[in-house]
Symmetry: C2
Subunit: 192 residues, 2 copies
């Protein structure tokens, strides 16, 4: 192995995303928004481009889609690339802002196919989103041996006090089935 | 603003890193390892290439330097790019592995100029490092209005039970002075 430093990396969505996701329409309801997050989680498993998780960031008011993320941990050899983190990074790159919650910005919401792990929850206040909604729960993920890390009631209390709202949302069964399907395919449990 | 999706981003170290950091020598002691993390934190402020934080990952046994990271939040418009996260990403890219703790791998340690925030602590178990050492404490960062997020004693208990060791290390005063210097320069507090 070379001792030359690695000084840059690229974080990218799989190629199928551009044609599979409609960035022109608006996503009006929680169900429509979650349907997109769950859809890309499923496609990520089907195309074998990453783990069974998808996320999307919307303008709360207009339903405009800002970014999507899918899990890229195994595909890109990068343990930080959970779907939520990829969605945060791409939304901020698109808006050319390190926060989605700066002065003059509309409120932004994160929809994710599964309740976020400790890293992704820790990232939410820095991201600037003001609402986080999930489909499958941490128990669903845990049953598949995906570890969610050190998340406590106090974690949610802290973040809620900071002005972020959290909710278990629609489509839990659909999202849970994707986890089960990934497991059946023999998908890698990279943080078990 | 275009509604075209942003589908990839680049995470890069500042240009000065390659010439400033010696990837050939080995870093034998905790003090030598921390000196590097603190040095690059200071250089990051001096060159105005990011926030006042630096991190480095070493093979525990040999002292071989695997990667460095500096805070790139403001420079790259990306709230996830704390120094520790950048170091995780670059180490895994170099080793072409999504974990630094896989079978047959040597133990890896993270040295960081400041106690990690909730996101970075949440990332440590996925990263595969087995020891985390910091210089400045969360209280030092908090005095500068940098928020560390939802971190509790239970967080450390959980991660310690998972086999990761944590320690307040050497050079706290040096690292704290960098935070103060950043503040004096009028550096942006991007997660206050």
């Amino acid at each position: 192995m070379s001792s030359d430093p690695t000084t840059s990396i690229t974080v990218s969505l799989p190629g199928w995303v551009s044609s599979a996701v409609d960035f022109e329409r608006s996503y009006e309801s929680d169900v429509e928004r979650m349907r997109l997050a769950v859809f890309i989680a499923r496609e990520n498993v089907r195309y074998e481009t990453g783990g069974p998780f998808g996320a999307a960031i919307f303008e709360a008011e207009t339903g405009r889609l800002v970014s999507v993320g899918v899990n890229r941990v195994v595909a890109l050899n990068n343990s930080t690339l959970h779907a939520e983190m990829v969605a945060f990074m791409l939304a901020q790159a698109k808006l050319q802002s390190y926060t989605l919650g700066g002065p003059g910005q509309p409120a932004h919401e994160l929809f994710t196919s599964c309740e976020p792990c400790a890293m992704c929850l820790g990232a939410t206040p820095w991201s600037g989103v003001t609402r986080v909604v999930w489909a499958a729960t941490r128990e669903d993920a845990g049953r598949l041996a995906f570890d969610e890390g050190p998340v406590f009631q106090a974690t949610y209390d802290y973040l809620t006090a900071r002005g972020i709202r959290f909710a278990a949302g629609p489509l839990r069964d659909e999202a849970r089935r994707i986890l089960i399907e990934y497991d059946r395919q023999g998908g890698e449990i990279y943080n078990g």
